[in-house]
Amino acid sequence: MVAGSFAESGADLELVGIHKRFPGFTAIEELSLKVPAGSFFALLGPSGCGKTTTLRLVAGLEEPTSGQVLIGGKDVTGMKPFQRPVNTVFQSYALFPHMTVIENVAFGLRRRKVDDPVAKAHEALRLVELDHLAARKPLQLSGGQQQRVALARAVVNRPALLLLDEPLGALDLKLRRQMQLELKTIQTEVGLTFVHVTHDQEEAMTMADTVAVMNKGAIEQMGAPEELYELPTTVFVANFLGQSNLFTGPVVESTGDTIAVDIAGTRIVVPTARAQRHSGIVTVGVRPEKLSLVTEDPGPAAGLNVIGPGRVVDVSFSGVSTQYIVEVPRLGTMVCFAQNMVFGPVVDVGASVWLSWKVDHGFGLDDVAEQAGAVQVGSAQDIAALDPEAVL
């Protein structure tokens, strides 16, 4: 970047055929993606999936084994970190402990010989509401305050591309929600391109325009959060982004609009347009909140999949909704979220129930799940802690 000037606006980022090998293991298999200028892009994945390595490659802190990094259409693959129009908010914040907060924020401005660095640094600190702590040392601040200083230190440079490496990981839930909103506001206000790495699926979905789900060094699926959630294309995405009830079986009937899959004697119908594969053994699924729970057999109906009878094995109340776990013979365990429209659960443990959902809500995946039924997940963090092999 030219000394003394700011980027006019965010730049787009393009990764072309990136491959990264460390001694002993491959961090990134093959990665190509394009992040449009001014967008909020989230890289979501479990620990060790290569998302932080991707970020470090963009920042220039690692060199790709092969492939190219382009920022604003310019090849920066061979450029050193300090030559790139990129700033990073590090997971560890990495605030210089020997400098005051204001000097930390002014650091990048001073290096680029920007006029009046201290005034601009104060302005950035006001943006994160920490100007009153400008004279403190970073170690005298709380984790949340340090995180905001780290953000100010990066944003003050108006980089064409701002990289965020799980910066909200250390914050408590309430502060995290607040910072998520602030980040989003700052991004919209200053119009920068944000690339945010996280393992928190909720964080990725609330903040980003585009989410890319990464697994084992490759992108599994990329798209708008709603698209990814409503129409996952792989077993990993279906289970990592929220929960899913998955069934695997052969396709027994294929009409123009729908395919029917036989799951141990039960027919499940999925729209052809929402299925990735239309023949052979396929995995189909449905989100738990799309299921409705009834205590009497509703009988076959057009445009409806019905499963049952099953036995309720667990009921857990979580405020806005209640989670029912239903054991269906030969199909496995299913999860159903029901809105709490009445006080208390509708059915109790041991009750015999039927589950139904609209055919339009089902989806067919590209790969095949090894286990039928729902994978039990509490939250994205639990998944991140699990070995990806175990999830699949």
């Binding site: 970047m1 920042a59 220039g60 802190l61 050193k80 970190p81 300090f82 990129v86 700033n87 990073t88 590090f90 560890s92 990495a94 605030l95 210089f96 402990p97 020997h98 400098m99 000097e103 650091f107 990048g108 290096r111 680029r112 230190r153 440079n157």
Partner: protein, 302 residues
């Protein structure tokens, strides 16, 4: 004195204020040691420095309050005093210039290879296994007029036919630098070994090139090591009498305060002069060191 100065540079932590007999008992040997080997000799030294030659017995001294000795020795040995501090300063600067890259390599670059790290540390410490008198004598041999260094330099016309290395200030500063490199290297290594390279990455990310990163981040973060290393080198180097002695690397043109004190004590038997010089040397070092520690402790060197 050096220890007190070092303690002053570190942040004192507030310990829980609970009176404990055990702490006192554990401190007793240390207090006893300090009283016996520091306070008592020091008081005795102060008394000696103020004595006057006995009027009756030649070679004996009587207790007095003759502060004139201080004025006399400072006037008489001003050159040697200034030279001592100048040589010590040069040796400290050279030792720092030599040790910093070495310590940085061992502490930061060699982190990926613990075996190499261990091996290089052993190489830094290994000279301690041989008496430093022997090592200095060995250097005298190497740098002697018959040695290959002098003959090679003469062949290259760097040295004239009548020039020497031993007995010159060059040899003394070289010897001081060589002898104190481990004292500089080890404290530097300890701070650099803990240097978090993520700060360097952050600096790089914030448009600072390698030089700016070194000046603005690496040096300030390794300042504690630089301060203790320079103190551990400067203080003993200023009082050193081995390297500058004519039996080792020095000569008449390179005499330092240590040699003057030694000669007054052991050759001229002028105990008050030697004691006054010792106390003067300590006082000057104390002033220099406290000014230095205060400056590097409060100033952020931004």
């Amino acid at each position: 004195m050096a220890i007190a100065a070092l303690a002053g540079s570190t942040v004192t932590q507030e310990a829980p204020r609970k009176k404990s007999r055990i702490a006192l008992i554990l401190l007793l040997p240390g207090i006893f040691y300090l009283v016996l080997f520091f306070i008592v000799p020091f008081v005795s030294l102060v008394i000696t420095s103020l004595q006057v030659p006995s009027a009756t017995n030649f070679g004996q001294f009587d207790t007095a309050f003759n502060w004139q000795t201080y004025v006399d020795v400072v006037g008489q040995y001003g050159t040697q005093i200034l030279r001592s501090f100048f040589f010590a300063l040069l040796a400290t600067v050279f030792a720092l210039l030599f040790s910093y890259p070495l310590a940085y390599f061992i502490g930061v670059k060699a982190r990926r290879w613990p075996l190499l790290q261990g091996l290089m540390l052993v190489l830094v410490i290994a000279p301690f296994f041989i008496s430093f008198l022997l090592r200095t004598l060995a250097w005298k041999q190497i740098l002697s007029d018959e040695g290959f260094v002098v003959s090679a330099l003469k062949a290259l016309s760097v040295l004239g036919p009548q020039d020497h290395i031993t007995g010159t200030p060059v040899a003394v500063v070289f010897g001081l630098t060589y002898n104190f490199i481990p004292f500089m290297c080890l404290p530097l290594y300890t701070t650099l070994e803990r240097l978090d390279v993520r700060y360097l990455e952050a600096s790089n990310d914030l448009y600072a090139g390698p030089f700016a990163t070194f000046r603005k981040v690496t040096i300030p973060l390794s300042l504690p090591g630089i301060v203790s290393g320079t103190l551990l080198t400067f203080i003993p180097a200023a009082g050193d009498y081995v390297n500058a002695s004519s039996e080792f690397l020095g000569g008449s043109s390179s005499t330092m305060m240590g040699n003057v004190i030694q000669s007054n004590f052991l050759v001229q038997l002028n105990y008050p002069a030697a004691a006054a010089l010792s106390i003067f040397l300590r006082a000057i070092i104390l002033i220099i060191v406290s000014a230095y520690v205060k400056r590097s402790g409060t100033d952020d060197l931004l």
